[in-house]
Amino acid sequence: MGATPMDGQMIANAFHHAYWGFPLSLYFWLVGGSAGSFVVSTLGWVFGVKKYKPIAFFASNTAIVMLMIVPMLLITDLGKPFRFFHLLMLPSFTHWSAPMAWGVTFILTYPIGMLFYSYFVYFKNERMARICGIAAIILALCTHWYTGVVMQLNPSRLPNHASVAPILFLTGAYISGIGLLNILLWIRNFFVETKKRVRTSILADMGRLMLYGIVFDLFLLGNEFLQMTYGIGEEHTILYDVLLGPFRWPYLYIEIIWGLVVPLIILAIPRINRSRYWVLAASFMVASGVFGMRVWWVMATQFLQGHF
């Protein structure tokens, strides 16, 4: 890793905090879960996959609830929480070159779209549900896309500053959303009458959807890390941090092994991937594994650059 200690040592420097921390990681994870759940919700009513229609209402409401926690986290994380209104599309305040300003627009409009969608799904208005679903799914994707962009447009933060970042975020959102939804649907089964219960086959089919996402996520991560092996700038240091250093748990063990590889194996084995508890176990692993990704993605570069 670079020069030997004999070449010199830093003996004084200012200390810097990690300016974004665990609350922001949790926020990225919740927004992702919300977007992922909503994607599943629209499968039936927008994309015409009939077997997912019964879970659409529950999935959409789950997405709404998850998105309701988000502003509380974000606003509380501000230095001046009561000034959040500076972000609310006031022409004199909003700075349109800032990705955070785009995000506020999405966070404000996305739940409204979901509420309309839920309303029409509840009253089984096929046409309006489809129209609102299309609008809301675009907003869902944009909402999570912007979270990736907020991290991406920091040129000095190296693994974040990659064009693959928003797609990685979206893929993580998709798989963690399905994972969370699977677990919530299973819990819901204990509280609803028999005919409304979600069949294991639906859970297993959602597991299959998750499997595609996992493969794509691993592919993207593989590409990202392949590039980082060239070691431009601080890339080698980041590789060290996430493979052997302080972030090995969030990245290597929690995200990669626990959150992607093990679920991939579970969901790829023919009979096991139709078994309810194996699918639920894989869902839990994926949902928690993506949280590991949010943690190292937000904090690894801030940890590294805190020393400069």
Binding site: F15, T94, A98
Partner: protein
């Protein structure tokens, strides 16, 4: 680079444009003794809170005994011509002055810290709730402003005025007769992290390149510096609120889990107190 401007309220870069001023600084490291007079003067003048700095001095030792050398590097906001912080600020709280200063409007800032994440130089900090003078801004981003209040009154920035070795030179780099322009013309100068594309306007003469390299700073911390940083993270009140500091001596599964939990508990515990701050 033709007219790249950051943000809709952005002011285009003024370096090298006729009729415009572009204030810049040259730090002659051959003359810098690392006395920290600049740090102390700035801290005192602007009531910079404990643990934060508008200007600070990095120090490194290289070589092997008896052939050792001490390198110093005063660091501050580089008042970039293409400031990422300005582009990423969602409320136009930070902006560029036509004369080149990158400034902060405390009454607009919401404390989202996106500018701090965007800055490649770590030149920004969040002001704490506890200021020596309560009338001073709190819980918003702050930075070095090249002492605009002094410069507009014909004085040099306080770090320049206090520099004991005469290492810091300040002036309008667009004016070829100014000392800054002459020094830049006559010497080989370096800027920090030029590859970031920010067009920094603090020039260094005699820069030791390893010390200006973030990787070097990370991998070559002395043990004492390492310990002090971890102690700082453990004890900082502001750090508890920001809830993102990781202490790298405890990073096993339980260590990371404990730190994550600790940070979230701190975040929730400080939430009620900070919620109504914006009103006052």
């Amino acid at each position: 680079m033709a007219g790249r401007t950051y943000g809709y309220n952005g002011v285009p870069p003024s370096k090298g444009k006729k009729g415009l001023k572009r204030y810049a600084m040259v730090v002659d490291l051959r003359r810098c003794t690392g006395c920290n007079a600049c740090t102390a003067a700035c801290k005192t003048a602007y009531d910079v809170p404990l643990g934060d700095w508008r200007i600070w001095v990095m120090e490194a030792e290289t070589g092997e005994f008896p052939k050792t050398k001490r390198h110093v590097l005063p660091r501050m906001c580089n008042q970039c011509d293409q400031p990422t912080c300005v582009r990423n600020c969602p409320t136009k709280a930070t902006f560029k002055h036509p004369d080149g200063f990158v400034l902060q409007r405390y009454n607009r800032c919401i404390g989202c810290r996106t500018c701090m994440v965007a800055c490649p130089y770590n030149a920004r900090h969040l002001l704490t709730e506890h200021r020596r003078d309560k009338r001073n801004p709190r819980n918003v981003a702050d930075k070095c402003d090249f002492c605009i209040v002094r410069v507009t009154r014909g004085l040099a920035p306080i770090c320049v005025a206090s520099c004991t070795g005469g290492a810091m030179v300040f002036g309008d780099i667009n004016d070829p007769k100014s000392e800054v322009a002459r020094m830049v013309a006559a010497n080989k100068t370096f800027t920090l992290r030029p590859e970031q594309g920010n067009a920094p306007q603090v020039y260094y003469i005699g820069l030791n390149e390893p010390i200006a390299d973030p990787e070097f700073a990370f991998h070559h911390r002395s043990e004492q510096l390492h310990d002090r940083y971890n102690t700082f993270k453990k004890n900082s009140e502001l750090g508890e609120e920001l809830a993102g500091n990781i202490i790298d001596t405890d990073t096993g599964f339980f260590g990371i889990a404990r730190q994550g939990l600790h940070n979230m508990i701190n975040f929730i515990a400080t939430a009620p107190a900070k919620f109504f701050r914006g009103l006052f």
